[in-house]
Symmetry: C2
Subunit: 153 residues, 2 copies
DNA sequence: TAAGATTGACGAGTCAATCTTC
DNA sequence: GAAGATTGACTCGTCAATCTTA
């Protein structure tokens, strides 16, 4: 027997679906119109900027950016074309490649970040009280943790 | 001056990003492997099944499914090929089209729904207490409401 | 044989242009 | 002219196959 969702559970579930879809769409649009970057591009720039020497191995980067290897490969190729990142061979492991943030990639991130953070505040933090946002964050952390466990299991 | 996110705010924000990405990915995978449907297909089937005569005008359906018109057009074309839906001309307004759930589409939904609901329970409801889930839902409703206001403004 | 990474073909989304009817 | 809907070209993601080094 399927245990269907109660009307209230349904309502909450739909709210989740709507909020996650609309928020991603809104932030993507702002980033695209303001700075010509996709959300995926931005995520890559952030991860590289936070890493030692502003570089990461392709597979490390794929994990951190919640991407698949082939998706990341295609994406890095496009971003190389835009001079946002470059590829460099890995000395230790000749199978490997480094994805490296270019100066232009760094500049693009520095230019986009304030607007993007402003968008996150406006569309996610501001509509909620501090307590509501904290509750949201904690719930998401639990859900994320559950899903990460599944993946590795 | 940009008001950057505090470390705690950052953590919550990343939790949101991770949870929404991994949950969508997991539910999509289960639906695809178990029933050969994408999340987008499923959403269409649900909306049509809930509508009078199991049909909706294309533009109505696009709104309800949070889709654009052109995206929906392409998607309905694919789903027509799978015999999940069909198009029918609209008598009242000759510009319009009905998207109609086929018998096979109905069967596909009936077959997939229990597994999908089970997935939503397992990956979203179960990892949280009832209070935590309710708080998540209410926060999402506020955020969704804010974003809907922007769109129409 | 497995791990790191890439490639190419195909399915899906976006945008601007188009066609028909209102 | 505006609304409902579709189309085609281009971009992005997925999957299976491939290549190289470990």
């Amino acid at each position: 027997m399927t245990r269907w969702l109660s009307p209230t559970e349904q309502k909450h579930w739909r709210s989740w679906l709507t909020a996650s879809a609309l928020l991603a769409e809104q932030l993507q649009r702002e980033l695209q119109e303001g700075h010509g970057l996709s959300l995926a591009d931005y995520e890559i720039l952030v991860r590289l900027s936070e890493s030692p020497d502003r570089r990461l191995r392709m597979s490390e980067l794929a994990k951190k950016a919640l991407s698949s290897r082939s998706r990341l490969s295609h994406q890095i190729s496009r971003m190389e074309g835009l001079d946002l990142v470059s590829r460099q061979p890995c000395a230790d492991d000749k199978r490997g490649q480094w994805a490296v943030l270019t100066d232009h990639g760094w500049d693009a991130l520095v230019a986009a970040a304030p607007d993007h953070v402003e968008g996150v505040r406006t569309h996610l933090l501001d509509p909620l009280s501090a307590a509501e946002f904290a509750a949201l964050g904690r719930a998401c952390a639990k859900v994320a943790s559950h899903l990460e466990d599944i993946q590795t299991a």
